[in-house]
């Protein structure tokens, strides 16, 4: 069973017990006298801490192309192995192999590459804008671009995502205007959410993107509810839930699996395992006994574990799960194995809890580099065109940023309309709120 990080921990943690009455020593149980040894608590630890040299050579990665691709009506119990492997398509040299590998033509793969490059360029500008004081807060998805971009690539218009906060790729791949995203990040006069929501908590019903919740995991079970509603209405649209490795510990994760399984909801349940929940390593939420994907088995939900830095693999696995949902065959749980290459947010400093070089040592590589290598190998792309496209995308993002800043930033411009602050509390604004607005002089 390949594990992302070996299980390491401190056993034998207990208090010195000076104040406690404890039951140890020799006791008679039935006719036998037995020695009762004190219990000990186990506290898991990540394999590497700051100062350690991260070494993932012991990590067993399945070879690209070697994992089987079952039919979409496969039963959960027949594909249990797929929750304990990592489905991979692209080799390090760019060769795409195996039954999950031939689903995207070159033009479509190129579209995916450009979307990922756009997400990265956008993140880099907004991250810097936060450092310059133009916004209060930002969360980038550095190193995880393939997951959201490839998943959205496999969805149809009208399908609904219930994302968490590192899936800006869903919006960008769905064609949501980056200018609107920037206006929200700046909370300026053109902010589409009118100054009410945090910078990265986007919302666009039209683009299948539910308003992100700051309270983690709540969206996961809501995705199941949305999917069940779609089924009850006789619609054809499906839902996708998103959650991080750490938040799978929330009750909502488990409730989502119960309902999705029981009612065969048309939903894809995505776990993005990027190894770190701020400073807490994924083993704290998972324990040593199983993968996150294997959580699906107890509920009879088919589960796939995929290389989240492999665009072609994420696309193929997503397509499989989406097809299952659309055919009425029920939910799929996908664990996207990746690595959070950046800090959790602009308020975090990972050097306090993990080695600085861990990200570079992470064996799944960079999603953009990997897809680029593949496209060059098949003759659909070149190093020169890549450099040129990167420059074009960056210039476009910079131009949009300048345009957004004309409408204001965190500390400049008029900001969103104070008059509108009193709207949307209720569907119809009640009298007392109109009075409060008038009394505020806006």
């Amino acid at each position: 069973m390949p594990e992302n990080i070996k299980d390491k921990g401190v056993s034998c943690v207990h208090l010195t017990a000076a104040r406690f009455k404890v039951y140890t020593g020799r006791r008679v149980v039935g006719e036998e006298e037995i020695d009762l040894k004190p219990l000990a608590l186990f506290v898991p630890e990540p394999e590497f801490r700051p100062g350690d040299m991260p070494d993932f050579s012991g990590l067993e990665l399945p070879k690209a192309g070697e994992t089987r691709r079952p039919p979409t009506d496969a039963k959960a119990e027949d594909i249990r192995d797929l929750a304990y492997t990592i489905i991979r398509v692209m080799r390090r040299d760019g060769e795409a192999l195996g039954p999950w590998g031939d689903l995207l033509d070159h033009d479509e793969a190129l579209r995916g590459l450009k979307n990922m490059m756009t997400v990265r360029a956008y993140d880099a500008r907004m991250q810097m804008a936060q450092r310059q004081g133009k916004t209060s807060f930002y969360i980038q998805c550095l190193g995880e671009e393939a997951i959201a971009c490839a998943f959205q690539h496999a969805l149809e218009k009208g399908d609904m995502n219930f994302p968490t906060y590192r899936q800006q790729g869903l919006l960008i791949s769905a064609g949501y205007p980056i200018l609107d995203m920037m206006n929200q990040v700046y909370s300026n006069a053109k902010d589409p959410l009118r100054g009410r929501q945090l910078p990265i908590m986007y919302s666009s019903k039209e683009h299948g993107f539910f308003s992100i919740s700051g309270n983690l995991a709540t969206q996961f079970v809501q995705a199941v509810g949305w999917a069940m509603a779609s089924a009850i209405k006789g619609d054809t649209r499906i839902a996708a839930g998103w959650i991080g490795d750490g938040s799978t510990a929330e009750s909502d994760f488990h409730s989502a699996l119960v309902f999705a399984s029981t009612y065969r909801a048309p939903v894809v349940l995505n776990i993005v395992n990027n190894q770190w929940a701020i400073s807490t390593f994924q083993g704290i939420a998972r324990g040593g006994a199983a993968t996150f994907a294997a959580r699906g088995h107890g509920f009879g939900i088919p589960a796939l574990r995929v290389d989240g830095n492999d665009y072609l693999a994420v696309y193929a696995v997503s397509k499989w799960a989406i097809e299952r949902a659309r055919k009425g065959l029920g939910p799929t749980l996908i664990e996207h194995v990746t690595y959070r290459a950046g800090a959790h947010s602009t308020s975090d400093d990972p050097s306090a809890y993990r080695p600085k070089s861990e990200s570079e040592e992470w064996p799944l590589g960079d999603p953009i580099e990997r897809l680029k290598t593949y496209l060059i190998k098949v003759g659909a792309w070149s190093e020169e065109r890549h450099v040129q496209t990167k420059a074009e995308i960056e210039a476009e993002i910079m131009a949009l940023q300048k345009q957004a800043e004309k409408s204001g930033t965190l500390h400049t411009g008029d900001g969103p309309s104070p008059k509108e602050m009193f709207e949307d509390v209720f569907k119809d604004t009640p009298l007392h709120l109109r009075r409060q607005r008038q009394a505020s002089g806006v």
Binding site: V13, S187, S279, S347, Y353, L433
Partner: protein, 474 residues
């Protein structure tokens, strides 16, 4: 023209940091995106990136300098064609002034707190107020000659937990980011190092899970201090707090209760939006079986957290993120605790009683200062505890001033202010010269944008205007 490089802010609440290292030297050419320096705050380290291209002409703040204010000019960049030796920082790039409480006012506040304690001796008799705070509580004396140490609320809370953990091995701290990360707001700083991983426990992201685990551990004989990253996230754990922690002593016929503290920041911070900014004082205050504490200054925070940990009942301890970095004088006393359920008179007055808790106390004190200049002498009461609610101190004050303004950060509907106004009209109706009034947040979920947030939250001016209104015709 020369470009100023400013001390960046890591978050809206950051006020200052240490410039730990310069990675570029004077005379070096820098490109946008180059890392030029490293800074450090109590929350995290970060790298300072160059925004513009140019030559690093002058380093104004040497590495190793502590307490560099946000937006202070730390270096000057010469653009192409400029002589790096001649550039000067621009005049307007001065350090942002930090508002620090005047230490003289803090001392007087403490003296007045003492007076508040003595005035409580003259509180109305218990029969009027049998439901709450029936025995007259007194703050313990601070002996003459006691020295004080200026301490942030953050460190006062940390000290309280450390002292109680040293004193009683049953006490442990649990929550997200409390151990390795030293607390999302660094309130649990160094506790892991002193007490180890069995007593300072990092949890996975499951408020419902670790609150329930804590309640179970409390039933099992330990004393958990459960930290929520914010009380907004405790919404996911509220069933354990109310249905289990608060009610089990009663439901088990008195056999088994939960001595547990649920603590963390409550109310608005700075631009964290609707789901991270709610004031839950009224919510928890509604529940029999729970004690609810909401201190303002560092001395109270420390003494009350110690009392909360020792209390055999579940205590909801509401802190305020925007007060964590504020310093107050804390008495250098071994084991100083305060009774839960006793308000403090922070300023003595005759014309109107201003009652607040948590951050609103600071605004009420500021308002009282300004009202004094226009001849209105306001008395300021810091509730400190929402349940028990010290109606005796409020009524004593209203009988003297005949006017009442309540100040809370939360919404008006079913709020703490409503409870106080009802209590005062019930017990001191004949003493009132004007209807009591409430200062609260606007009746909207708190918006993110700075201008809307400011419009929505109550502030010093709101208190002044409301106090003027109740004093009209006086």
């Amino acid at each position: 023209m020369a470009i100023d490089i400013l001390m960046p802010a890591l978050s809206p609440t950051m006020e200052e940091g240490t410039l730990s290292k310069w990675l570029k030297s004077e005379g070096d050419t820098v490109q946008p995106g180059d890392i030029i320096a490293e800074i450090e705050t109590d929350k995290a380290n970060m790298e300072v990136e160059a925004v513009d291209e140019g030559i690093l002409a002058k380093i104004l703040i040497p590495e190793g300098t502590e307490a560099v204010k946000v937006n202070a000019v730390i270096a000057v960049l010469a653009e192409e064609g400029e002589n790096a030796d001649e550039v000067q920082p621009s005049a307007n790039g001065t350090a942002a002034e930090q508002d620090k409480p005047d230490p003289s006012q803090q001392i007087s506040a403490l003296e007045e707190a003492d007076q508040g304690a003595s005035s409580a001796q003259a509180a109305p008799n218990g029969s009027l107020l049998e439901s709450e705070a029936a025995p007259v509580l007194l703050d313990p004396e601070i002996p003459a000659g006691t020295s004080f140490t200026e301490t942030t609320v953050r460190d006062a809370l940390r000290d309280a937990m450390a002292e109680e953990m040293r004193r009683d091995e049953r006490v442990f701290v649990m929550g997200e980011e409390v151990a390795e990360y030293q607390g999302a707001y660094k309130v649990t700083r160094e506790l892991l190092q002193e007490f180890g991983a069995a007593r300072v426990v990092d949890t996975p992201i499951t408020e419902h899970g670790f609150a329930g685990l804590g309640v179970g551990a409390a039933f099992g004989g330990l004393i958990p201090v459960i930290e929520f990253m914010t009380f907004n996230f405790a919404m996911q754990a509220i069933d354990h707090i109310i249905n289990s922690a608060a009610k089990t002593l009663y439901m088990s016929g008195g056999q088994m209760g939960a001595p547990i503290v649920f603590r963390g920041p409550n109310g608005a911070a700075s631009r964290v939006g609707a789901q991270h900014s709610q004031d839950y004082a009224a919510w928890y205050g509604n529940v029999p079986g729970l004690k609810v504490v909401a201190p303002y200054d560092a001395a109270d925070a420390k003494a009350l957290l110690k009392s909360a940990i020792r209390d055999p009942n579940p205590v909801v301890f509401l802190e305020h993120e925007l007060l964590y970095g504020t310093s107050f004088d804390v008495p250098d006393l071994e084991d100083f605790t305060l009774p839960i359920g006793k308000a403090a008179v922070k300023r003595v007055g005759t014309d109107v009683t201003l009652v607040g808790y948590s951050r609103m106390v600071g605004f009420a004190l500021e308002a009282a200062e300004k009202l004094a200049q226009e001849g209105i002498c306001a008395e300021v009461i810091d509730l400190r505890s929402i349940r028990p609610l010290d109606m005796a101190t409020i009524i004593t004050s209203v009988k003297k001033t005949s006017r009442l303004v309540t100040c809370e950060e939360g919404w008006r509907h079913m709020g703490v202010g409503g409870e106080i106004c009802a209590g005062v009209t019930e017990h001191a109706f004949d003493y009132l010269d004007a209807p009591p009034m409430r200062v609260t947040q606007k009746d909207v979920p708190l918006p993110y944008a700075g201008n809307l947030e400011a419009l929505s939250l109550p502030n010093t001016d709101d208190i002044i205007m409301t106090a003027r209104a109740v004093c009209e015709g006086k």
